[in-house]
């Protein structure tokens, strides 16, 4: 095995020498996947958390927190990277480095090599990053099939994930099987380990949230440890493990997720840097600064390994030792960042990769494969491990053939090839790889077409996600135990009801990010609170928070409808530039700056100073949470020039999209000023569609066209719905172009009138309020007409004396002389005095559309009148009189010879009276009379036929449609 693995490793190294970046990126990716998932999905994440907890426990046996365990995997990969990452020419050197490292770490060359072997076995697919994932998968599978030959692989995987520990173990027992056993034991059997873990937590008070909870965990874990059957009972142990662990983790629920992710991230970063550093060191690139650190790290490692050994023997001190590792790693990290550009880029690439899942989710293809695989492999048998396996598994499976098919050798840059490989690694089965190939082809074709294929940084290119259809099923297939856990985890801020296997809706990310940052902030602060030895860890976490940030922002960006490929490239460049700029002097804070700058640069390509400022504010929204970042926006400034309208628009789109999705942050966050467009659309007719994003000039009509459109609508014979639609779209176009002039007034007036005609009061009210503002701005229009409408509206609608008084007192003398206004005032008087005769006379002489508004009051007025009549008249009132007085007949009382019309009105009146419970009798002449005495007690106001539950009949679509003669 060893030899094999080493060979493979070598191969791999050769292959991957170029891949370094990819690798780096990939690993973070996996990390991110997992974290993202965790964070975003409440239940799932919780679940994950619990799983991680269990994992942690299991790992703890080795003295490593699960985070660390994962980290370890990352670190391994990084390690890998480093070796490979250094120029391919140095591959040999790397090898030697590795050895040297190993030696220095006292692990011995053999130790390291075994590790490699482990990698190799997985990485035989030549995908380095697959280690982690595959490793896990393999691990799991291997676990189940201990006796299997594949077992060795799992072990390797295991090693990957837990390289240090494994190494140690390897030292102890060169026999893998033995190791395996031990591992199993370690994982499941020994309570002490759990205790240790707990202790570890207690002692260290890990800056991550879990630390606090550890106590509870410890107890739980101990129980757990006893529960699981070591050898065969994996599944059982799993199911139990989650539960038990769940409890401990729950308390932290909110923080727990983040912590998980954070530690992971941090560690990764740390490891990354560490290793990168290490590599340089060995190459003597940065001998002076790096080396001491490195040495330290080695020392820690050493100790660590020792401890691991001890761990094996269940030594309680292990946790502490491990910490040092983590601590030192960060220290190294910084130097790395500064010195080695590549490392910087790596990080960046990581970031992007991390975003990958997001992107993928955006892709129509849909469901992330990653998620799905996790469940497949892990969930069914061992829920506890799902979380871990998930991310990794996603990228795990390499389908080399697929890669080959997609990539035509020689034509494409190596990085692209790697990219494709990476992508294909995602694929689990044929279907997926087919789909993946499709996507790849598309991407590559696109890249070729726009000539970016050679310029693009494929290593940094995010992976898309492979369509996955059966995620939901997977979810349901999950263990019942986790479910209960989920419910317990409700506290978590990121909790969602949706299954975690689903692709994350983009909107969540904003919040998530926020929370992430929050956590990051918390973490860092916590860390600071920690004792001195932990301080380094704090650094770690900060670094992590950076990482998190990176994750976040890219995510956000990626959401944008346009996949923003170019932008990523830009970003990459930016990042590089940043790295270069900062040079050797960069520190954590610098990094932060870079990140922010990078983020801002990517997201905000701002043109104008206000714009920038606004964006800045917006970005600060997130940053405030973090508290510890003082931003230098110099990068934004740099970018300022590059922003063009399009960029701005896309940004706005992105933002608006995310905000819109976010729900809580509404459209008002969009900077409409910057979005004022000059329309170019020449179509006169345009359907109204409520804008959900920045307007596109090509669909916005300029003023001249709008004028014609208005004319068209005014002369249109079509129904109100059509007109309303058209007018709304005109209004929208006016608004987005910020046109406020006579045309605007005309449009609103037209709309208000047509709305009045059909009694569409909501629409009318909108127009009226706009008109009020427009008139107040001094734009001419039919001011009086609408003043009258307004008055009538107040009378008819709100029975509010104060409103009425104020609108009356606001009328100018000039207005009071206006015929329409006078009419409105007269109507008011008639209404307040209940003078129905006057009211219906005014109704008949109403100017403009006053009658339309009066219509709204007719029913009430008639009812009042009839109740008044039935109270006052004795013994009878002729219906003809009622019909005449209450406006049923269209004729005025003085109008002679209107009998025919009257009869029409009479019938209506009779019908109306009957509908309202009036008693009608025919007198000797056969004339219908209202029996007032009988009616006085029988009158009632019938329920309006068009009554709707929400009280406003005009809002009921059906009713509206019927009233609007279609």
């Amino acid at each position: 095995m060893l030899t094999e693995s080493t060979n493979q490793d070598d191969d791999e190294m050769m292959n991957q020498a170029t891949n370094t970046q990819t690798l780096a990126s990939v690993e973070p990716n996996s990390v991110e996947n997992r974290y993202v998932i965790n964070v975003s999905q409440g239940q799932t994440s919780l679940y994950v958390a619990s799983t991680t907890g269990s994992e942690a426990a299991s790992w703890n046996t080795y003295g490593v927190d699960n985070h660390f365990a994962e980290n370890a995997s990352f670190s391994n990969s990084t390690y890998h990277h480093v070796k490979h990452s250094e120029p391919s020419s140095r591959a040999v050197q790397d090898g030697s480095n590795a050895t040297s490292l190993a030696t220095s770490s006292t692990l011995g060359a053999t130790d390291t090599q075994p590790d490699y072997g482990g990698y190799a076995s997985y990485s035989n697919s030549s995908d380095p990053y697959s280690h982690g994932s595959t490793g896990y998968q393999g691990y799991y599978s291997g676990y189940q099939q201990q006796p299997n030959p594949s077992y060795s692989q799992p072990v390797g995987a295991y090693q990957n994930t837990d390289s240090w520990r494994l190494r140690k173990q390897q030292l102890h027992s060169s026999d893998y099987h033995m190791e395996w056993r031990q591992l199993c034991k370690l994982y499941y059997t020994p309570p002490q380990h759990y205790k240790q873990w707990a202790e570890y937590y207690n002692q260290t008070e890990v800056s991550c949230a879990p630390g606090t909870e550890n106590l509870s965990v410890s107890s739980a874990s101990t129980q757990v440890s006893q529960l699981p059957g070591v050898s065969g009972g994996y599944s059982t142990s799993n199911s139990q493990a989650p539960t038990t662990f769940a409890t401990p983790w729950r308390p932290e629920s909110s923080s727990s997720q983040t912590p998980l992710s954070q530690p992971g991230a941090t560690v990764t970063g740390a490891y990354d840097s560490y290793w990168t550093n290490g590599a340089p060191t060995f190459q003597n690139q940065h001998p002076s600064p790096v080396q001491p650190l490195f040495v330290k790290a080695l020392d820690t490692k050493y100790s660590y390994s020792n401890f691991q050994e001890q761990q094996n023997t269940a030594c309680p001190q292990i946790p502490n030792l491990q910490y040092p590792m983590a601590q030192q790693a960060p220290q190294n990290y910084q130097p790395t960042a500064q010195t080695v550009q590549s490392s910087e880029t790596q990080r960046l690439s990581k970031l992007q990769i991390q975003t990958n899942p997001r992107i993928a989710s955006n892709l129509p293809l849909g469901l992330p494969k990653l998620d799905r695989e996790g469940p497949n492999n892990g969930v069914i048998s061992k829920p506890a491990y799902i979380s871990v396996s998930q991310p990794k598994s996603s990228e795990k499976v390499l389908s080399n053939d697929a890669t080959d098919s997609v990539i035509k050798a020689g034509v494409f840059p190596k990085s692209l090839k790697n990219y494709v490989q990476r992508a294909l690694t995602q694929c689990k089965d044929e279907k997926q790889s087919a789909a993946c190939q499709e996507i790849m082809k598309e991407i590559i074709t696109k890249a070729t077409n726009d000539g970016t294929i050679h310029t693009r940084d494929w290593d940094a290119e995010p992976l898309f996600q492979i369509p996955n259809t059966d995620m939901a099923d997977k979810n349901s297939s999950q263990n019942p135990t986790p479910v209960s856990l989920f419910s317990k985890y409700k506290k978590s801020p990121t909790k969602r009801s949706k299954s975690r296997w689903e692709p994350l809706p983009e909107e969540k990310s904003v919040d998530k990010l926020g929370s992430l940052n929050n956590y990051a902030g918390k973490y860092s602060s916590k860390v600071h609170l920690d004792e001195k030895d932990r301080k380094p860890t704090g650094v770690n976490y900060e670094g992590k928070s950076d990482v998190m940030k990176k994750i976040r922002f890219p995510q956000m960006e990626l959401k944008s409808a346009s996949r923003t490929v170019q932008r990523q490239v830009k970003r990459q460049r930016l990042a590089d530039a940043t790295a270069a700029d900062n040079g050797d002097a960069s520190s954590d804070s610098d990094k932060e700056q870079n990140l922010t700058a990078y983020y801002s640069g990517a997201i905000m390509l701002a043109d104008t100073p206000e714009e920038r400022k606004r964006r800045e504010n917006r970005s600060k929204r997130f940053e405030k949470v973090q508290g510890n970042r003082a931003e230098s926006n110099h990068f934004k400034a740099k970018n300022a020039g590059t922003g063009n309208l399009y960029a701005r628009r896309t940004t706005a789109l992105v933002l608006s999209k995310s905000f819109e999705d976010d729900g809580s942050r509404a459209v008002e966050d969009i900077d409409w000023d910057s979005l004022t467009v000059k329309g170019t659309c020449q179509e006169i007719e345009k359907r109204y569609l409520r804008l959900t994003s920045a307007p596109d000039p090509s669909t916005v009509r300029p003023e001249e066209v709008l004028e014609r459109a208005l004319l068209m609508v005014q002369h249109s014979q079509k129904n109100y719905l059509y007109k309303c639609d058209q007018l709304k779209s005109i209004r929208q176009d006016l608004t987005v172009q910020r046109i406020r002039n006579h045309l605007t007034v005309k449009v609103y007036e037209t709309h208000a009138r047509s709305a009045l005609e059909v009694g569409d009061l909501p629409e009318y009210n909108q127009c009226q309020s706009q008109l009020k503002i427009l008139y107040a701005e001094g734009i001419d229009g039919c001011h009086m007409e609408f003043a009258a409408y307004n008055l009538l509206c107040v009378i008819m609608h709100s029975n509010n004396n104060r409103d009425l008084l104020s609108s009356m007192s606001r009328l100018s003398d000039e207005a009071k002389k206006d015929q329409a206004v006078q009419h409105a005032l007269a109507v008011r008087a008639a209404v307040t005095s209940g003078n129905y005769v006057l009211f219906f006379r005014l109704y008949k002489t109403a100017p403009n559309l006053n009658a339309c508004l009066m219509d709204l009051y007719v029913e009430k007025m008639r009812y009042k009148a009839v109740s008044c009549m039935s109270r006052s008249y004795r013994p009878q009132v002729p219906v003809s009189y009622i019909a005449q007085v209450l406006g049923f007949s269209s004729s005025t009382p003085t109008n002679e010879g209107s009998d025919e019309k009257d009869s029409d009105g009479l019938e209506d009146c009779v019908e109306w009276l009957k509908a309202h419970g009036a008693c009608l009798v025919a007198d000797s002449n056969g004339e219908m009379q209202l029996d007032s005495k009988a009616s006085s007690s029988s009158l009632f106001m019938p329920d309006p036929e068009d009554a709707v539950a929400h009280g406003d009949a005009s809002l009921a679509v059906n009713d509206f449609l019927t009233r609007t003669s279609l």
Partner: protein, 413 residues
């Protein structure tokens, strides 16, 4: 104006600071309140303001001594406000004053007893007045006046501090009244509701325990609200309370109350003496009263038209307009009496034509239908007892009390 010398300025400021800290330590609310009372424009205060403007570095003086620096949060903005106030920059003065007031209530919260209530009153008053003046300044500069609104929310905060249990509750009504003033001025009367609810539902504190001054003001404003709602009996009750409890020497206050109470009483059928109107210069109501007495519709309409703006602004226009029905009633009653004198047997049958003729004589050009409508309304509203015979166009009056008096009850609506 003669600027004080540096030493003089220093002395004045230090005096002021000493006064402040003494007032606080001896809980001498009277002298404390004096220190805040900008609008009194008292010479000592103005001289301090001058000194501040001259000295410029008052903050140093505050920090100088522990005695003052512990109130630095209060004093520093207070000085700034005083300075701005003196130089006529009212907007800045308001801003600083609000800061000062916030700091003060923070301190006030910590004081167990309510000794500083008077000072708080002064602050509540000053902040309102200052806000009004600042708004005027803003409006004249073409900016949107919003300081009064800000003062409103500040006072709401103060109300929150006072409205709980304990000795400070006594002060709640004063703040409420200041709030009323702001809300009425801003036209956001609906905001009064929450405050009123809090005052009226509090069981632990009897309304009568509030200071009389505040009770009167409170009743005045709530009475006005009832006028808006046309809830005349309630309005009558509240305004009458205000009238009977208010200081009889404060004629302006009495006039303000009467301005609303008279229309309310009128709509309840109670007419004031002309002497009352004359005494309190409320002659705009005179014609209305006369119209009611005479049943002179024309006079009423003229009176309404004449004082339309005034009535609209004070919000009694609609109330007065509703008196029309009573005027009709009076008119019909008069016709009835004349008929009765002529022919007692047929007195209870009023021909519509007669009424139309009477209205025509009053230059009210109304046709039969309209008058018929009004008669039905009169009967419907129980201003006239009887019925209307449509066929013969005759109002048949009840033989018993055909024109019932309102006697303090509102017209049926």
């Amino acid at each position: 104006m003669a600027y004080p010398s540096m030493g003089e300025a220093h002395r004045r400021i230090t005096d002021y600071l000493n006064n402040f800290s003494d007032a606080v330590s001896y809980q001498d609310v009277a002298s404390l309140a004096q220190l805040f009372s900008f609008s009194s424009n008292s010479p000592p205060l103005l001289s301090v303001a001058d000194a501040l403007n001259f000295f410029q570095d008052a903050n140093r003086l505050i920090k100088q001594s522990e005695k003052f620096s512990q109130y630095g949060e209060i004093l520093a903005p207070l000085f700034r406000s005083l300075q701005s106030y003196r130089t006529g920059n009212l907007v800045d003065a308001y801003h600083a004053f609000e800061k000062f007031a916030n700091a003060f209530i923070q301190e006030f919260r910590n004081w167990e007893s309510a000794w500083a209530l008077e000072a708080l009153y002064v602050i509540a008053y000053e902040i309102r007045v200052l806000a009004e003046r600042a708004d005027r300044e803003l409006a004249s500069n073409g900016k949107s006046p919003e300081k009064l609104k800000g003062a409103g929310s500040f006072l709401m905060k103060v109300f929150g501090v006072l409205a709980g249990k304990g000795p400070k509750r006594v002060g709640a009504l004063y703040v409420t009244c200041q709030l009323f003033k702001i809300y009425f001025k801003l036209g956001t009367v609906h905001l009064c509701r929450s405050v009123i609810r809090s005052i009226e539902t509090a069981r632990i504190f009897d309304f009568e325990e509030f200071p009389r001054r505040d009770k009167v003001t409170y009743m005045y404003y709530t009475g006005r609200l009832e006028v808006f709602n046309e809830n005349f009996p309630a309005a009558d009750h509240k305004l009458s309370y205000a009238l009977t409890h208010c200081n009889p020497l404060r004629e302006a206050n009495i006039r303000m109350i009467l301005k609303y109470l008279i229309p309310v009483k009128l709509s309840l059928g109670i007419l004031p003496e002309t002497s009352l109107l004359e005494k309190y210069n409320l002659l705009e109501y005179n014609n209305v009263v006369q119209a009611l007495k005479r049943g002179d519709l024309r006079l009423l309409r003229h009176a309404l038209q004449e004082h339309e703006d005034q009535f609209l602004r004070s919000g009694v226009y609609l109330v007065l307009e509703k008196l029309e029905l009573q005027v009709y009633q009076r008119l019909v009653k008069k016709i009835y009496f004349i008929q009765k004198q002529k022919d007692p047997s047929k007195a209870h049958q009023l021909k519509l034509e007669v009424i139309v003729k009477a209205l025509k004589w009053l230059e009210m050009d109304m046709d039969l239908d309209e008058v018929e409508c009004i008669m039905t309304i009169l009967i419907y509203k129980n201003l006239v007892k009887g019925y209307f015979a449509h066929k013969s166009k005759v109002v048949v009056l009840s033989k018993q009390d055909p024109f019932p008096k309102l006697n303090g009850k509102p017209v049926n609506s």
